[in-house]
Protein backbone atom coordinates (compact mmCIF):
# COMPACT_ATOMS: atom_id res chain seq x y z
CA UNK A 1 0.00 0.00 0.00
CA UNK A 2 1.41 3.36 -1.04
CA UNK A 3 1.55 6.31 1.26
CA UNK A 4 -1.03 8.23 -0.75
CA UNK A 5 -3.57 5.42 -0.93
CA UNK A 6 -3.37 4.96 2.82
CA UNK A 7 -3.92 8.69 3.37
CA UNK A 8 -6.91 8.66 1.02
CA UNK A 9 -8.47 5.63 2.69
CA UNK A 10 -7.97 7.25 6.07
CA UNK A 11 -9.63 10.58 5.10
CA UNK A 12 -12.59 8.68 3.65
CA UNK A 13 -13.04 6.72 6.84
CA UNK A 14 -12.72 9.86 8.90
CA UNK A 15 -15.44 11.57 6.84
CA UNK A 16 -17.71 8.57 7.28
CA UNK A 17 -17.03 8.57 11.00
CA UNK A 18 -17.84 12.27 11.30
CA UNK A 19 -21.03 11.85 9.39
CA UNK A 20 -22.03 8.99 11.62
CA UNK A 21 -21.40 11.11 14.71
CA UNK A 22 -23.40 14.03 13.27
CA UNK A 23 -26.30 11.71 12.55
CA UNK A 24 -26.09 10.27 16.05
CA UNK A 25 -26.27 13.65 17.76
CA UNK A 26 -28.28 15.72 15.32
CA UNK A 27 -30.63 13.01 14.13
CA UNK A 28 -33.27 13.33 16.84
CA UNK A 29 -33.28 17.15 16.57
CA UNK A 30 -33.59 17.01 12.85
CA UNK A 31 -36.52 14.69 13.22
CA UNK A 32 -38.27 17.14 15.57
CA UNK A 33 -37.66 20.03 13.22
CA UNK A 34 -38.91 17.99 10.29
CA UNK A 35 -42.08 17.22 12.20
CA UNK A 36 -42.59 20.88 13.10
CA UNK A 37 -42.17 21.88 9.51
CA UNK A 38 -44.63 19.24 8.41
CA UNK A 39 -47.17 20.53 10.92
CA UNK A 40 -46.90 24.02 9.44
CA UNK A 41 -47.25 22.60 5.96
CA UNK A 42 -50.24 20.49 6.94
CA UNK A 43 -51.96 23.51 8.45
CA UNK A 44 -51.32 25.45 5.28
CA UNK A 45 -52.83 22.69 3.19
CA UNK A 46 -55.87 22.57 5.43
CA UNK A 47 -56.46 26.31 5.10
CA UNK A 48 -56.11 26.30 1.34
CA UNK A 49 -58.28 23.24 0.82
CA UNK A 50 -60.92 24.46 3.27
CA UNK A 51 -63.58 25.22 0.70
CA UNK A 52 -63.09 21.88 -1.05
CA UNK A 53 -63.45 20.06 2.27
CA UNK A 54 -66.71 21.80 3.05
CA UNK A 55 -65.36 24.57 5.32
CA UNK A 56 -66.65 27.91 3.97
CA UNK A 57 -63.70 30.00 2.89
CA UNK A 58 -64.44 33.65 2.08
CA UNK A 59 -61.10 33.86 0.28
CA UNK A 60 -61.83 30.78 -1.85
CA UNK A 61 -61.15 32.76 -5.03
CA UNK A 62 -57.58 33.31 -3.86
CA UNK A 63 -57.07 29.95 -2.17
CA UNK A 64 -57.88 28.27 -5.47
CA UNK A 65 -54.75 29.81 -6.92
CA UNK A 66 -52.59 28.04 -4.34
CA UNK A 67 -54.17 24.62 -4.78
CA UNK A 68 -52.06 23.35 -7.71
CA UNK A 69 -48.92 23.69 -5.62
CA UNK A 70 -50.31 21.35 -2.99
CA UNK A 71 -51.28 18.65 -5.44
CA UNK A 72 -48.10 16.61 -5.27
CA UNK A 73 -48.16 16.18 -1.50
CA UNK A 74 -51.89 15.65 -1.25
CA UNK A 75 -51.90 11.89 -0.80
CA UNK A 76 -49.29 11.93 1.97
CA UNK A 77 -51.18 14.78 3.58
CA UNK A 78 -54.55 13.07 3.86
CA UNK A 79 -52.91 9.91 5.21
CA UNK A 80 -51.19 11.99 7.93
CA UNK A 81 -54.50 13.67 8.80
CA UNK A 82 -55.89 10.26 9.63
CA UNK A 83 -58.01 9.93 6.50
CA UNK A 84 -57.23 6.54 4.97
CA UNK A 85 -59.02 7.43 1.73
CA UNK A 86 -58.93 10.68 -0.18
CA UNK A 87 -61.50 13.07 1.36
CA UNK A 88 -62.08 14.76 -1.95
CA UNK A 89 -64.29 12.90 -4.39
CA UNK A 90 -62.33 14.44 -7.21
CA UNK A 91 -58.82 13.52 -6.12
CA UNK A 92 -58.38 9.79 -6.53
CA UNK A 93 -54.78 9.59 -5.43
CA UNK A 94 -55.48 6.24 -3.75
Amino acid sequence: MTHRTAALRFSERWAAFREGLTEYYAGPYRQTLARERRDEDDLFTLVVLGEALGVPDPAAYYSAELMPMLAEDFHAWHRRMGMPRSPLDQMSCC
Partner: protein
Protein backbone atom coordinates in the same frame (compact mmCIF):
# COMPACT_ATOMS: atom_id res chain seq x y z
CA UNK B 1 -58.94 70.17 -3.27
CA UNK B 2 -61.53 70.66 -5.99
CA UNK B 3 -63.33 67.62 -7.32
CA UNK B 4 -61.92 68.11 -10.82
CA UNK B 5 -58.35 68.62 -9.65
CA UNK B 6 -55.85 66.87 -11.88
CA UNK B 7 -54.17 65.25 -8.93
CA UNK B 8 -57.25 63.11 -8.38
CA UNK B 9 -56.55 59.92 -10.25
CA UNK B 10 -59.22 57.66 -8.74
CA UNK B 11 -62.79 58.52 -7.84
CA UNK B 12 -65.47 56.30 -6.36
CA UNK B 13 -69.00 57.55 -6.94
CA UNK B 14 -71.48 56.07 -4.51
CA UNK B 15 -74.81 56.60 -2.83
CA UNK B 16 -78.30 55.24 -2.46
CA UNK B 17 -79.84 53.43 -5.41
CA UNK B 18 -81.52 55.65 -7.99
CA UNK B 19 -80.01 59.02 -7.00
CA UNK B 20 -78.05 59.44 -10.24
CA UNK B 21 -74.63 57.92 -9.53
CA UNK B 22 -74.08 56.59 -13.03
CA UNK B 23 -75.19 59.84 -14.67
CA UNK B 24 -72.96 61.95 -12.48
CA UNK B 25 -69.99 59.60 -12.72
CA UNK B 26 -70.30 59.84 -16.50
CA UNK B 27 -70.74 63.63 -16.38
CA UNK B 28 -67.62 64.03 -14.26
CA UNK B 29 -65.76 61.84 -16.74
CA UNK B 30 -66.96 63.90 -19.66
CA UNK B 31 -66.11 67.19 -17.95
CA UNK B 32 -62.56 66.07 -17.20
CA UNK B 33 -62.07 64.63 -20.66
CA UNK B 34 -62.95 67.99 -22.19
CA UNK B 35 -59.92 69.37 -20.42
CA UNK B 36 -57.70 66.80 -22.09
CA UNK B 37 -57.84 63.89 -19.66
CA UNK B 38 -58.13 60.23 -20.65
CA UNK B 39 -60.84 58.89 -18.37
CA UNK B 40 -62.11 55.37 -17.71
CA UNK B 41 -65.51 54.82 -16.12
CA UNK B 42 -65.82 51.42 -14.48
CA UNK B 43 -69.19 50.12 -13.37
CA UNK B 44 -68.99 47.78 -10.40
CA UNK B 45 -72.74 47.66 -9.88
CA UNK B 46 -74.16 44.22 -10.73
CA UNK B 47 -77.18 46.11 -12.06
CA UNK B 48 -75.12 47.82 -14.74
CA UNK B 49 -76.49 51.09 -16.14
CA UNK B 50 -73.53 52.47 -17.99
CA UNK B 51 -74.51 51.00 -21.34
CA UNK B 52 -78.12 52.12 -20.98
CA UNK B 53 -77.02 55.63 -20.07
CA UNK B 54 -74.64 56.11 -22.97
CA UNK B 55 -76.93 54.16 -25.30
CA UNK B 56 -74.04 51.90 -26.21
CA UNK B 57 -72.99 48.28 -25.72
CA UNK B 58 -70.54 48.39 -22.86
CA UNK B 59 -68.59 45.23 -22.03
CA UNK B 60 -66.17 43.68 -19.60
CA UNK B 61 -63.30 45.44 -21.43
CA UNK B 62 -62.96 49.23 -22.00
CA UNK B 63 -65.09 50.61 -24.83
CA UNK B 64 -64.63 54.12 -26.29
CA UNK B 65 -67.62 56.28 -25.33
CA UNK B 66 -66.48 59.78 -26.24
CA UNK B 67 -63.57 61.63 -27.74
CA UNK B 68 -62.83 65.31 -28.17
CA UNK B 69 -60.40 67.63 -29.87
CA UNK B 70 -58.41 68.41 -26.74
CA UNK B 71 -57.02 64.88 -26.78
CA UNK B 72 -59.23 63.68 -23.95
CA UNK B 73 -61.52 60.66 -24.08
CA UNK B 74 -63.97 58.65 -22.03
CA UNK B 75 -63.89 54.84 -22.05
CA UNK B 76 -66.43 52.70 -20.24
CA UNK B 77 -66.42 49.21 -18.77
CA UNK B 78 -68.98 47.03 -16.96
CA UNK B 79 -67.32 44.44 -14.74
CA UNK B 80 -68.59 40.92 -15.28
CA UNK B 81 -67.75 38.97 -12.11
CA UNK B 82 -68.57 35.59 -13.60
CA UNK B 83 -66.33 36.08 -16.59
CA UNK B 84 -63.59 37.27 -14.24
CA UNK B 85 -63.96 34.17 -12.07
CA UNK B 86 -63.98 31.92 -15.14
CA UNK B 87 -60.73 33.45 -16.42
CA UNK B 88 -59.11 33.18 -13.01
CA UNK B 89 -60.04 29.53 -12.58
CA UNK B 90 -59.00 28.73 -16.15
CA UNK B 91 -55.52 30.02 -15.32
CA UNK B 92 -55.45 27.95 -12.13
CA UNK B 93 -56.63 24.94 -14.12
CA UNK B 94 -53.70 25.33 -16.51
CA UNK B 95 -51.31 25.26 -13.56
CA UNK B 96 -53.03 22.21 -12.10
CA UNK B 97 -52.84 20.32 -15.38
CA UNK B 98 -49.17 21.12 -15.61
CA UNK B 99 -48.55 19.59 -12.21
CA UNK B 100 -50.91 16.62 -12.22
CA UNK B 101 -50.82 13.33 -14.12
CA UNK B 102 -53.22 12.98 -17.05
CA UNK B 103 -55.68 10.72 -15.27
CA UNK B 104 -56.42 13.40 -12.65
CA UNK B 105 -57.18 16.27 -15.01
CA UNK B 106 -60.94 15.87 -15.07
CA UNK B 107 -60.93 15.69 -11.31
CA UNK B 108 -58.87 18.86 -11.03
CA UNK B 109 -61.54 20.67 -12.99
CA UNK B 110 -64.30 19.45 -10.70
CA UNK B 111 -62.16 20.47 -7.77
CA UNK B 112 -62.09 24.07 -8.93
CA UNK B 113 -65.83 24.24 -9.38
CA UNK B 114 -66.19 24.76 -5.65
CA UNK B 115 -64.28 28.03 -5.80
CA UNK B 116 -66.44 29.20 -8.67
CA UNK B 117 -69.65 29.01 -6.65
CA UNK B 118 -68.20 29.79 -3.23
CA UNK B 119 -69.76 32.77 -1.45
CA UNK B 120 -67.36 35.68 -1.58
CA UNK B 121 -66.00 34.78 -5.01
CA UNK B 122 -68.02 37.47 -6.74
CA UNK B 123 -66.77 40.17 -4.41
CA UNK B 124 -63.20 38.93 -4.74
CA UNK B 125 -63.51 38.98 -8.51
CA UNK B 126 -64.87 42.54 -8.52
CA UNK B 127 -62.11 43.59 -6.17
CA UNK B 128 -59.56 42.01 -8.47
CA UNK B 129 -60.86 44.05 -11.42
CA UNK B 130 -60.90 47.23 -9.32
CA UNK B 131 -57.26 46.63 -8.42
CA UNK B 132 -56.42 46.08 -12.10
CA UNK B 133 -58.29 49.21 -13.18
CA UNK B 134 -56.69 51.32 -10.47
CA UNK B 135 -53.26 50.26 -11.75
CA UNK B 136 -54.10 51.78 -15.14
CA UNK B 137 -53.61 55.31 -13.79
CA UNK B 138 -49.87 54.84 -14.22
CA UNK B 139 -50.17 54.57 -17.98
CA UNK B 140 -53.38 54.28 -19.92
CA UNK B 141 -55.62 56.73 -18.10
CA UNK B 142 -55.36 59.99 -16.18
CA UNK B 143 -58.49 59.30 -14.16
CA UNK B 144 -60.44 56.16 -13.30
CA UNK B 145 -63.97 56.66 -11.99
CA UNK B 146 -65.75 53.76 -10.31
CA UNK B 147 -69.52 53.86 -10.60
CA UNK B 148 -70.37 51.72 -7.61
CA UNK B 149 -73.20 49.61 -6.31
CA UNK B 150 -75.46 51.15 -3.67
CA UNK B 151 -73.63 52.01 -0.50
CA UNK B 152 -73.42 48.87 1.66
CA UNK B 153 -71.85 46.68 -1.01
CA UNK B 154 -69.26 49.25 -1.86
CA UNK B 155 -68.23 49.90 1.71
CA UNK B 156 -67.62 46.19 2.22
CA UNK B 157 -65.68 46.10 -1.03
CA UNK B 158 -63.43 48.95 0.09
CA UNK B 159 -62.66 47.11 3.33
CA UNK B 160 -61.61 43.96 1.46
CA UNK B 161 -58.04 44.87 0.45
CA UNK B 162 -57.04 45.37 4.07
CA UNK B 163 -58.64 42.09 5.13
CA UNK B 164 -57.14 40.11 2.28
CA UNK B 165 -53.71 41.58 2.97
CA UNK B 166 -54.11 40.14 6.46
CA UNK B 167 -55.05 36.76 5.00
CA UNK B 168 -51.97 36.63 2.77
CA UNK B 169 -49.83 37.77 5.71
CA UNK B 170 -51.04 34.85 7.81
CA UNK B 171 -50.23 32.39 5.06
CA UNK B 172 -46.83 33.97 4.42
CA UNK B 173 -45.95 33.77 8.12
CA UNK B 174 -46.85 30.10 8.00
CA UNK B 175 -44.48 29.68 5.04
CA UNK B 176 -41.76 31.62 6.90
CA UNK B 177 -42.02 29.32 9.91
CA UNK B 178 -41.84 26.30 7.67
CA UNK B 179 -38.78 27.73 5.94
CA UNK B 180 -37.09 28.45 9.27
CA UNK B 181 -37.47 24.82 10.27
CA UNK B 182 -35.93 23.81 6.96
CA UNK B 183 -33.07 26.23 7.50
CA UNK B 184 -32.51 24.93 11.02
CA UNK B 185 -32.37 21.41 9.68
CA UNK B 186 -29.85 22.44 7.08
CA UNK B 187 -27.80 24.21 9.74
CA UNK B 188 -27.77 21.12 11.90
CA UNK B 189 -26.62 18.64 9.37
CA UNK B 190 -25.04 20.77 6.69
CA UNK B 191 -27.10 18.74 4.28
CA UNK B 192 -29.16 20.56 1.69
CA UNK B 193 -32.61 19.06 1.41
CA UNK B 194 -34.44 18.89 -1.86
CA UNK B 195 -36.89 21.79 -1.68
CA UNK B 196 -39.88 21.50 -3.98
CA UNK B 197 -40.37 23.98 -6.79
CA UNK B 198 -43.96 24.31 -5.63
CA UNK B 199 -42.71 26.05 -2.51
CA UNK B 200 -41.08 28.83 -4.48
CA UNK B 201 -44.07 29.25 -6.75
CA UNK B 202 -46.37 29.35 -3.73
CA UNK B 203 -44.38 32.13 -2.12
CA UNK B 204 -44.19 34.10 -5.32
CA UNK B 205 -47.96 33.90 -5.77
CA UNK B 206 -48.63 34.96 -2.20
CA UNK B 207 -46.21 37.87 -2.45
CA UNK B 208 -47.77 39.10 -5.67
CA UNK B 209 -51.21 38.93 -4.10
CA UNK B 210 -50.15 40.78 -1.00
CA UNK B 211 -48.45 43.47 -3.05
CA UNK B 212 -51.63 43.99 -5.03
CA UNK B 213 -53.82 44.27 -1.93
CA UNK B 214 -51.41 46.59 -0.19
CA UNK B 215 -51.11 48.83 -3.23
CA UNK B 216 -54.85 49.08 -3.56
CA UNK B 217 -55.30 49.77 0.13
CA UNK B 218 -52.66 52.49 -0.04
CA UNK B 219 -54.22 54.01 -3.15
CA UNK B 220 -57.73 54.27 -1.74
CA UNK B 221 -56.54 55.81 1.53
CA UNK B 222 -54.33 58.38 -0.21
CA UNK B 223 -56.41 61.56 0.12
CA UNK B 224 -54.68 63.32 -2.72
CA UNK B 225 -54.95 60.54 -5.28
CA UNK B 226 -58.29 59.01 -4.42
CA UNK B 227 -61.63 60.38 -3.34
CA UNK B 228 -65.17 59.22 -2.73
CA UNK B 229 -68.11 61.23 -4.02
CA UNK B 230 -71.45 60.59 -2.34
CA UNK B 231 -74.45 61.38 -4.51
CA UNK B 232 -77.80 62.00 -2.89
CA UNK B 233 -81.10 63.77 -3.34
CA UNK B 234 -82.05 66.20 -0.58
CA UNK B 235 -84.68 63.96 0.95
CA UNK B 236 -84.91 62.28 4.34
CA UNK B 237 -83.71 58.76 3.55
CA UNK B 238 -80.89 59.59 1.16
CA UNK B 239 -79.60 62.25 3.56
CA UNK B 240 -79.64 59.86 6.51
CA UNK B 241 -77.79 57.23 4.50
CA UNK B 242 -75.31 59.82 3.22
CA UNK B 243 -74.36 60.83 6.74
CA UNK B 244 -73.83 57.17 7.69
CA UNK B 245 -71.78 56.46 4.58
CA UNK B 246 -69.52 59.44 5.28
CA UNK B 247 -69.00 58.21 8.83
CA UNK B 248 -68.03 54.76 7.56
CA UNK B 249 -65.66 56.22 5.00
CA UNK B 250 -64.00 58.38 7.67
CA UNK B 251 -63.51 55.24 9.71
CA UNK B 252 -61.83 53.55 6.74
CA UNK B 253 -59.63 56.62 6.08
CA UNK B 254 -61.09 57.10 2.63
CA UNK B 255 -61.23 60.77 1.68
CA UNK B 256 -64.70 62.13 0.95
CA UNK B 257 -64.05 64.48 -1.95
CA UNK B 258 -67.53 65.95 -2.29
CA UNK B 259 -71.22 65.41 -1.80
CA UNK B 260 -73.50 65.99 -4.75
CA UNK B 261 -77.09 67.01 -4.10
CA UNK B 262 -78.73 65.90 -7.32
CA UNK B 263 -82.01 66.90 -8.97
CA UNK B 264 -82.51 70.12 -7.03
CA UNK B 265 -86.03 71.42 -7.46
CA UNK B 266 -86.14 74.89 -9.08
CA UNK B 267 -87.47 78.05 -7.42
CA UNK B 268 -89.23 79.39 -10.44
CA UNK B 269 -91.25 76.56 -11.90
CA UNK B 270 -94.46 76.58 -9.90
CA UNK B 271 -95.64 76.08 -6.34
CA UNK B 272 -95.18 72.33 -6.09
CA UNK B 273 -91.52 72.47 -7.01
CA UNK B 274 -90.92 75.52 -4.84
CA UNK B 275 -92.41 73.68 -1.88
CA UNK B 276 -90.14 70.73 -2.60
CA UNK B 277 -87.19 73.11 -2.81
CA UNK B 278 -87.94 74.44 0.65
CA UNK B 279 -87.89 70.95 2.09
CA UNK B 280 -84.65 70.23 0.25
CA UNK B 281 -83.12 73.43 1.63
CA UNK B 282 -83.87 72.25 5.13
CA UNK B 283 -82.15 68.95 4.49
CA UNK B 284 -79.14 70.64 2.95
CA UNK B 285 -78.76 72.91 5.96
CA UNK B 286 -78.68 69.81 8.14
CA UNK B 287 -76.02 68.27 5.90
CA UNK B 288 -73.88 71.42 5.98
CA UNK B 289 -74.20 71.54 9.74
CA UNK B 290 -73.23 67.89 10.16
CA UNK B 291 -70.37 67.98 7.63
CA UNK B 292 -69.07 71.52 7.37
CA UNK B 293 -65.70 70.59 5.83
CA UNK B 294 -67.05 68.64 2.88
CA UNK B 295 -68.02 70.63 -0.25
CA UNK B 296 -71.61 70.12 -1.35
CA UNK B 297 -72.24 70.49 -5.06
CA UNK B 298 -75.82 71.10 -6.14
CA UNK B 299 -77.06 69.94 -9.52
CA UNK B 300 -80.46 71.13 -10.72
CA UNK B 301 -83.30 68.96 -11.87
CA UNK B 302 -83.04 68.69 -15.61
CA UNK B 303 -85.98 68.51 -17.99
CA UNK B 304 -85.97 65.60 -20.37
CA UNK B 305 -84.28 62.21 -20.49
CA UNK B 306 -80.65 62.16 -19.45
CA UNK B 307 -79.34 59.57 -21.85
CA UNK B 308 -76.85 59.78 -24.67
CA UNK B 309 -73.69 61.80 -25.14
CA UNK B 310 -75.37 65.14 -25.73
CA UNK B 311 -77.56 65.04 -22.64
CA UNK B 312 -74.57 63.95 -20.59
CA UNK B 313 -72.64 66.85 -22.05
CA UNK B 314 -75.28 69.24 -20.70
CA UNK B 315 -75.01 67.63 -17.28
CA UNK B 316 -71.23 67.91 -17.46
CA UNK B 317 -71.55 71.64 -18.14
CA UNK B 318 -73.94 72.12 -15.20
CA UNK B 319 -71.58 70.23 -12.96
CA UNK B 320 -68.61 72.34 -14.12
CA UNK B 321 -70.43 75.57 -13.29
CA UNK B 322 -71.59 74.40 -9.89
CA UNK B 323 -68.19 73.18 -8.83
CA UNK B 324 -66.56 76.50 -9.59
CA UNK B 325 -69.28 78.58 -7.91
CA UNK B 326 -68.91 78.95 -4.14
CA UNK B 327 -72.02 77.62 -2.56
CA UNK B 328 -73.61 79.04 0.60
CA UNK B 329 -76.57 77.33 2.23
CA UNK B 330 -79.90 79.10 1.82
CA UNK B 331 -81.07 80.51 5.12
Amino acid sequence: MLLMDERRRILFVGGKGGVGKTSLASAIALARSRRGARVLVVSTDPAHNLGHLWERDVEDEPVRLAENSSGGCVDGMEIDPERTIARHLAAVEQTMIRMLPERQHAQAREHLERARVAPGSHESAVLERIAEAAELIDGDYDLVIFDTAPSGHTLRLLALPGQLAGWTDTLLRNRDRSERFSAAMRGLTGRVEQGSSSEAELRRTLHLRRARFENLQRAITDAETCGFVVVFTAEALPVAETLEVVESLNGMHVDVAALIANRRSPNDAGDLLRARRDVEDRHLRAVHAALPEIPVIEVPLVAGELTGVEALGVLAELLQQEIVRPRTPQS
